[in-house]
């Protein structure tokens, strides 16, 4: 729902919220307030249009619709209703332990649990310290057989302020669950510009590691390169690009890729190795073409007696040296 100015006025002037300022020094009470705020925004959303959620488009930071997340929660919820739960299988102990959400013990935090109930199957939610929200919002997974009021659902879109987002990320990191951390990062990637995101991640090592791993897995190399450059980890960036060449099958493409790698910011010794690699491959291509031809003609003695088992391409230096001695001993230096 596109939150109009009017709603925000109501929100701010409502008597439910007292002393909610961003300048509060005490982080603990800030958290509590933010969380209450988030809670109530949710209520407002619900109060207004509970029924026609699907028709309304939500807008994130960049102005792009982000309704897909809530939509998918609903879809998953309905799907969960249709597909089986594990409960009937006789795992009551495990399932119900997951469902018994107790009150938070160490003060209030954001609750991601409900969101991830949508994402994960029954037995697998993230146990977070549940925050004490008075008003239940979207109800969820009725087959869990617990009073609906115990479940709170939030959509990630509600975390719009940068501060909220970062608190959310920090909270996720506190939980140690990599799946949750990555999920929050995916959301942040969608709703924050990369400069802001990079800046925030720089000081958050755990989140940063997860983000880098995510980008590697999704093969988003361009963004990863930019991130590493921003962090000043140029050697890593160079090695990553070097790694790409290994995936190329065509030898000539490989050679070109290696050539372009030479100028990358490797460490001093690695730069030397990459240079060697390029020179070596270049030579090997020439030797290979030549030797293949010679083998075919069947004229040359040494090739007839000892037929080659494999191409010399991509072989290590020592092997190449051995090969050259074996097949080309006594020849004058080849002009390359």
């Amino acid at each position: 729902m596109i939150r109009g100015k009017g709603d925000e006025e109501d929100y701010w002037n409502s008597s439910k919220f007292k002393a909610f300022t961003f300048d509060d020094d005490d982080e603990f009470s800030q958290l509590k307030e933010s969380k209450k705020a988030v809670n109530s925004i949710q209520t407002l959303v619900d109060d207004d249009d509970d029924d026609d959620e699907d028709d309304v488009e939500k807008v994130g930071w960049n102005g792009e619709p982000v309704g897909s997340i809530s939509l998918s929660i609903k879809e998953t919820a309905s799907r969960n209703r249709m597909s089986a739960t594990d409960q009937e299988l006789g795992f009551p102990k495990i399932e119900t332990t997951m469902q018994n959400l107790s009150l938070s013990k160490q003060g209030s935090n954001y609750s991601l649990s409900s969101l991830f109930k949508g994402k994960n199957k029954m037995g697998n939610f993230q146990m977070l310290s549940e925050c004490v929200g008075e008003i239940p919002s979207r109800h969820f997974a009725p087959e869990l057989r617990k009073p609906k009021s115990q479940y709170k659902t939030y959509t990630l879109e509600d975390f719009r302020a940068l501060r909220d987002k970062m608190l959310l990320l920090d909270e996720a990191v506190q939980l140690h669950n990599g799946n949750v951390i990555t999920a929050v990062l995916i959301f942040l990637k969608k709703t924050l510009s990369k400069e802001i995101l990079f800046r925030e991640l720089e000081s958050r090592q755990v989140a940063l590691r997860h983000f880098i791993h995510y980008l590697k897995e999704m093969e988003e190399l361009k963004l990863l390169n930019e991130l590493l450059k921003f962090l000043g980890r140029t050697e890593e960036m160079a090695l990553m690009q070097y790694r790409e060449h290994l995936n190329l099958k065509d030898v000539n493409k490989k050679k070109e890729a290696l050539k372009s790698c030479i100028s990358l910011p490797f460490s001093a010794e690695d730069a030397g190795f990459v240079q060697d690699h390029y020179t070596l491959l270049e030579r090997q291509i020439i030797i290979e073409a030549n030797d293949q031809h010679m083998e075919k003609t069947g004229q040359v003695e040494v090739f007839k007696k000892n037929p080659r088992k494999a191409a010399i391409l991509d072989m290590p230096i020592i092997t190449t040296l051995y090969y050259s001695c074996f097949y080309h001993y006594g020849e004058s230096e080849v002009s390359t």
């Binding site: 697998n124 791993h213 290994l246 010794e269 690695d270």
Partner: protein
Amino acid sequence: MAFHSRIDSPEIPKFSDLKRLACDQLIYLLEQLPGRKDLFIEADLMSPLDRIANVSILKQHEVDKLYRLDNKPVISSCDQLCFLIRPHIQAVKWISEIVNSDKITGKCRKYKIIFCPQKFYVCEAVLEEQGVFGDVTCDEWEFYFLPLDDDIISLELPEFFRDYFLDGDQRWVFATAKALHYFHSLFGLPLKVYGIGKCAKMTYEMWRQFIEEGEKKLSTDKTGNLFIFDRDVDFVTPLCSQVVYEGLLDDVFRIKCGSVELCSDVTASDKTIKVLLNSQDKVFNEIRNEHFSNVFGFLSQKAKNLQTAYDKRQGMDIKQMKNFVSQELKGLKQEHRLLSLHISASEYIMKRKTKLDFQELLKVEHSLLDGFNVRESISYIEEHIIRQISMFESLRLLCLLSLTENGLVSKDYRSLKSQYLQSYGIEHVLTFANLRQMGLLVEQQPGETFTAMESTVGKLVADKAVGKLTDAFSSLAKKSNFRALSKKLTLIPKSNEEYDLHSPPDMAYIFSGAYIPLSCKLIEQVLERDGWNGLEEVARMLNGNEFAVAAGGGGAGESKPKPQSSRLMFVIFLGGCTFSEISALRFLGKQKGYKFIIITTAITNSSRLLESLNDGHS
């Protein structure tokens, strides 16, 4: 010497239930897609699945054909496709391709994805991106445990090691904690929990949350103690060559999910034979923990006994013969078969190892562990590299050198790296980068550099973040401290007398008396002291993160823990565990009257460990 159970050793719980429960759950999930369906299985899951639910059971539940999931177009004509995968993005992408290509050709099918053991948000995001989210149903098969034997349980998550220790991704922590919770909800909470390592701490905290937020009615019966162990606390042990029989089998033949394939060279026949290796194999059970030097003696003795038993029939009359054939012959034949298999395997191992000059290799390893004759060892490694003997063996030795010597001297590092790259391929600069990050193969840094780096970066970021950064840097530049630890814990036994491998005095026998595995020694000490008292310095040298708590809150009416059950020890290795360590713990159990149950994220050895870090290939 065989590990016959002590009369007073505690009873171990029955883990066969775990298999049955997992099987039932899978079948249940399959039945959610009623009717004929084809099942596509990810390669990594094929062996574990085989141990849980074999083909006939699957066929009974309307699974028509079984395929391996890979990047090839699907030839199945079935209307319903079911995919059983780990939550890997690559697998999800392949599935999306299948669905999308069906859409293009106008094929209408039902698709079900079963994620094992849990679904990641990333996977769903990919499905969404590929536009197939609404076309597939997703389920989770909470299959955590594969009991490999009475006292070994594997989570079959070899990717844990690289994902966490190299990439710092905590994605599997939840699954591990959940697995622990599931395990203990079936078998009772432990009396005490010990642990060391960052991941161990995180797993424990998450598990504790599960318990606290769980049903209070969990059985208050407390059994045994739990030790959670991070692999990176001890990298040295898995990198050493294994010389106990089961370890050797793993190193030479690669044991997979508790069974091994013996190629035709070994079996002297045309086919490969798959052998299940567990305590059911009576012959194997006697020799599995033995040092290899004892194995031949044992096997030949057994062969003699067998011969004698066969020869009995020489002097028999008809009645006795009939008796013999009906009762004893089958057992003898079985024993004969197993015996010949193990003898062939041992012979093959002997031949292989002699060819590779195993004795010399072991000597070098022992010198490295001892810190003796380091320069000679380095020359040996150099020659090993230059002669291109084996890519992973060379790397293994390099890492051992680095770990035991607290990093290589710059000159050595550069020269050995250069030689390695020339021998095995320059693309291994990537592997070297990974090993450096893990702290497995590093260059010795002059002291100032570290602090200078820290302070420079510290100025660049806000104060609050410095603490986090320092953590990051200190984890990057983790020092090995092996030598100091070795002295403190006396990991290298005194070499005054000949080490008796027939009745060994301590766990060092698993490495021919040269070295007591650090991991097992730590466990021994912590259990003896019931905590970390007196081991503070050791813990500090291991980068801290040690803990010891009495698990599960108290409560009125808590049943008194039986003295028996406190000698049941569960040890969980996060990142993998070797057969040598398992043998060592079994020995320790015999010695001290404990019974160890080992839970591990995967069985590992030096090859697997290094392979997972090898990026020098396409």
